[in-house]
């Protein structure tokens, strides 16, 4: 069993993924990554991470789709979600509400580009709850 908090990062842009991984690798996290929503759901099934970092605009299944799936599945009820995207927060919350009739149940929202210090402190805060 891995004792370090585990994080699944989902982003379709390989360069963004690379940069985020580089920042998170500076700490002791167990990291996995996916490039779209479908791949994300498959990895979630294998192992529930302590934090899901999720982009919104992605091919195959977008981030809103992932939130919808994950939030209707009790296995992931305690898994915090951090959104990391270029979409402004207002617009994406409104879109989710219009599509689902529910408010978006996420624990953090960061607009890209993320400042490394800010990202690390948010990740630490969200994974600490699990410890």
């Amino acid at each position: 069993m891995n004792e370090n908090p585990s994080i699944l990062i989902v982003d379709d842009d390989p360069d963004i993924l690379d940069g985020i991984l580089l920042i998170l690798e500076s700490q002791n996290y167990h990291l996995r990554s996916a490039r779209d929503g479908i791949q994300c759901l498959a990895l979630l099934k294998e192992e529930v991470p302590d934090l899901l970092i999720l982009d919104l605009l992605m091919p195959r299944m977008d981030g809103w789709g992932v939130i919808r799936e994950v939030r209707s599945d009790s296995r992931y009820a305690d898994m915090p979600i951090m959104i990391l995207t270029t979409v402004i927060e207002d617009a994406s919350r409104r879109r989710y509400e219009l599509e689902t009739g529910h408010s978006m149940d996420i624990q953090a929202y960061i607009e890209k580009p993320a400042k490394p210090d800010h990202l690390l402190s948010m990740v630490e805060e969200l994974t600490r709850r699990k410890k």
């Binding site: 842009d13 690379d18 985020i20 580089l22 500076s26």
Partner: protein, 396 residues
């Protein structure tokens, strides 16, 4: 089994394009029609392919889509530009040269259609000019309607464009931040300075993209749709927070003079914050270091006034009439960054509020320029969409 000629003729007669044709024509056109069903997600027409069929939707729904791809690396996206509902048609290109489909059409639910053979239809209409005239007339109206809906499509295109432009920038900014944060090894001071400059230039470009997209999207009715009750004092405080870093960099103090009490007003909360933030940023940009920017608000009988005053060089008198124009930058701004959109965005927002944004230069006792003063006048009689709806309801 296909429907009888008279049933097909009746269906054609209900459609937007054939409704003005006499039964005789409808029966003859029905001769080269058949019915077909498309499943949810199935492609009906593909943009650029020969247009040899026209469809009348009987049941279900089709979407007209255009493919958008910017640059080589972005994911192509389909933007829906219109829907085709029962009794509406798809495939008018079959009647127009060069007879190639002008857009892709996809079924978005199981859809039953009446398919008209395009080649035979062209021949029939050429041989029957009266019917041909009626049909072309109907199609002209239809195209005009689609043209009008292009405005809303533009908004959608812009949101995709802005995303496509911002995505590569976000990747660059992300790498820059990662390198500057020391996550990819140590930097010497020269490298650090240059990378910091890169961050500033990329951030400027990113803001410029937001402004251009915002400006193109900014229609009064869109802003008015966002009208809600809000606390203007709270929005003012948020704007001060937005500009805090810029002010700190030049050691500028923002002096606040609020009214004794802020009462809620109707307007677009988000847009109003943009106005205040733009004005404060503008003042900070032109104010000298270690100076004071005044941010003041008070109520008058039928309006709320916000004022932003700086002690910068003021605006050259010959430029005063143009500063709210798109992309206008005053002749004395020198190297100050910006695309010249902040003030024209603020003006558009205030217009949508039926308010005013005014500017004047300040002159000191010796007659020398001593700054500029912008004031925003927000009427107190605006209505939210809900209030406007209620006004239209009959009295109980």
């Amino acid at each position: 089994m296909t429907a009888s000629l008279s049933v097909i003729a009746e269906r054609l007669g209900k459609s937007e394009v054939f409704q003005s044709l006499p039964e005789k024509d409808l029966l003859e056109i029905a001769e080269f029609c058949h019915e077909d069903v498309y499943q949810d997600g199935q492609e009906v027409f593909v943009e650029g392919e020969p247009a040899n069929q026209m469809l009348v939707v009987e049941r279900g729904k089709l979407a007209i889509e255009k493919k958008i791809q910017l640059g080589r690396h972005s994911t192509p996206r389909n933007a829906t530009i219109a829907y085709i509902n029962p009794n509406q048609i798809a495939g008018f290109s079959t009647l127009t040269q060069p007879q190639l489909h002008s857009a892709t059409v996809v079924a978005i639910e199981p859809t039953r259609v009446c398919v008209i053979d395009g080649i035979q239809l062209r021949k029939y209409l050429a041989d029957h000019p009266d019917a041909g005239y009626q049909v072309i007339n109907a199609i002209t109206n239809l195209v005009r309607g689609r043209y009008q809906s292009a405005t809303s499509t533009l908004t959608y295109f812009l949101s995709i464009v802005s995303h496509e432009l911002r995505t590569p920038l976000a990747a660059v900014e992300n790498y820059l931040q990662t390198i500057l944060g020391g996550f990819a090894g140590e930097l010497n001071p020269k490298q650090e300075r240059m990378l910091n400059r890169c961050v500033i230039r990329v951030t400027d470009l990113s803001a410029l993209i937001s402004d251009v997209v915002d400006l193109a999207r900014m229609r009064p009715e869109q802003i008015q749709a966002d009208f809600e009750w809000f606390d203007p004092g709270e929005v003012g405080r948020e704007s001060i927070e937005d500009t805090r870093l810029a002010a700190a960099e030049k050691n500028i103090q923002i002096r606040i003079q609020p009214p004794p009490e802020f009462k809620p007003i109707v307007g677009s909360r988000r847009r109003m914050r943009q106005v205040f933030t733009n004005l404060l940023n503008n003042a900070i940009k032109f104010a000298p270091e270690d100076s004071i920017v005044l941010f003041k608000a008070w109520y008058e009988k039928d309006k709320l006034i916000f004022l932003v005053e700086d002690s910068g060089p003021g605006i050259p008198p010959e430029d005063l009439g143009f500063i709210f124009t798109d992309f206008f930058r005053a002749s004395n701004v020198g190297d100050s960054p910006g695309a010249g959109l902040g003030l024209s965005i603020a003006k558009k927002i205030m217009d949508a509020h039926h308010g005013d944004i005014l500017v004047e230069n300040l002159i000191d006792e010796d007659g020398n320029p001593s700054g500029s003063r912008f004031s925003v006048h927000i009427p107190l009689n605006l209505s939210t969409p809900e209030m406007r709806r209620r006004e239209w309801l009959p009295d109980k």
